[in-house]
Symmetry: C2
Subunit: 240 residues, 2 copies
DNA sequence: GCTTGAGGTTGACGTGGCGTCAAGGTTTGT
DNA sequence: ACAAACCTTGACGCCACGTCAACCTCAAGC
């Protein structure tokens, strides 16, 4: 047999056969005087074993290990591990399909909106025209696209009462007023104190723990950042 | 935000972010005077959208297409196709796991044998010591490893009565005698005729159809090949 | 003989989605 | 002052081959 017949017999390409030679998975057969490789049935048997293992999902390195050990024991272990791996893959795909189904259902219900209905309601809760509220809008959009539905709903459940109170008590407006102010503006301390009074314990703990993460302060003006710096300091003191 | 914060926020590596810049999936942000990229929340929102699509299984090219079209229609089609693709993958993995389960069960039953019990019985049916039967043994091993269990059993069911008759009537011994003979040996014609008489209609049709495939003749001696050449000629004539 | 087509040979590059150096510059903390 | 942890660009590595290049060999038809 020449390489093309062997490849056709087992159902692979000649390139694959040569690749396996290169990796030492398949021994190089005799060469004819013209340089052609001459195969025998034994080679087809070995190649078929390699392919069976490959098609089960083993990497070529793993196939070589299995063929090297050659005495059943190793093979069983590899196959068991492989089965577990496949099971994980199946689960992962199932999870993705579940998320897909949610997405498709939502897309069916609201074909034109870019955000989920829960998020849309939260966005309506923000005061229009506020530059500062724009920051919150972006954070909400980030959570909407980056987190799963469960995480998102949990997040919203925590934030929405806070946002509602902040809007109703004019917090956004007072923050907007600080857009051009300097960090030592006299309005900063009062605003921080009012904010501290509105935070639930859960939110306060979160802010103390993750206050400097995520870069959510970076787009505020200096005075606005100062408000939150003072706020975090107050919360820390309160929790001691 | 600098690139590390952005990456940590969305949960990817900085290399990934730069890769997306390179591919144009994510717009390059402003640079600070030191050359650092400076990100804003908007960028995190876009990156998070990209990641969500990627994690659903879209290729980066597909993500770019979806982001370019941007108007829901395309997205839904892609997602539907993706779901079908995932379903196919799930099925494929299921099939592999089924084959794995068969393998493991067999390995449990016969931890030391390299071939299946059906195959072992077929091998015992071949006469020991026959050089020619060695060829059949290799073919059977090839089928055992290359084909699935169903194909294998079908193949065996067809071949085993033939092999049994061939052994009982001394066909293997007569083929072995031709190992060193020349193609015009007088025993060739008689052997071909006896073989023709033993073949079932199904086998005869198979030999006429695929007689020259698979290279199964290559390892025989010239006289042995001649036997099968004459045999195929006889079968062709008989079927006309 | 010549051509043509279908095989074969080695070698090298391409694929996708980044990981992982290398060789520098910047910022931050002690 | 110096280390540690950032940032920059550029380039190679991974896996299992596909694909092309440039060349050789063999059988068939003119």
């Amino acid at each position: 047999m020449r390489i093309g017949e062997l490849a056709a017999l087992v159902g692979v390409s000649t390139r694959t056969v040569r690749h396996y030679h290169h990796l030492g998975l398949l021994p190089e057969p005799l060469r004819l005087s013209n340089g052609y490789r001459e195969y025998r049935l034994k080679d087809a048997v070995v190649l078929a074993r390699v392919r069976r293992l490959v098609e089960l999902g083993l990497s070529l390195d793993e196939v070589r290990d299995v063929l090297a050990d050659e005495r059943g024991r190793e093979l069983r272990d590899v196959l068991v591990e492989l089965d577990a791996d496949l099971a994980r893959q199946q689960e992962a795909i199932g999870a993705r399909r579940a998320r897909l189904a949610v997405l498709l259902e939502e897309a069916e219900l609201r074909p034109d909106s870019a955000v989920s209905p829960e998020m849309a309601e939260a966005l309506r809760g923000l005061p229009p025209g506020s530059r500062f509220a724009e920051l919150d809008r972006e954070m909400l959009a980030l959570v909407d696209t980056a987190a799963g539905p469960d995480e998102r709903d949990e997040f919203l459940a925590m934030l929405r009462p806070l946002m509602k109170t902040a809007r109703d008590t004019g917090i956004y407006a007072r923050l907007d007023e600080l857009a051009e102010a300097r960090p030592d503006d006299p309005r900063v301390a009062g605003l921080a104190a009012d904010l501290a009074g509105q935070l639930t314990g859960e939110m306060a703990a979160l802010m103390v723990a993750h206050g400097s993460e995520g870069g959510w302060l970076d787009e505020m003006s200096a005075a606005q950042r100062e408000v939150f710096r003072v706020l975090v300091a107050m919360l820390k003191e309160r929790s001691c």
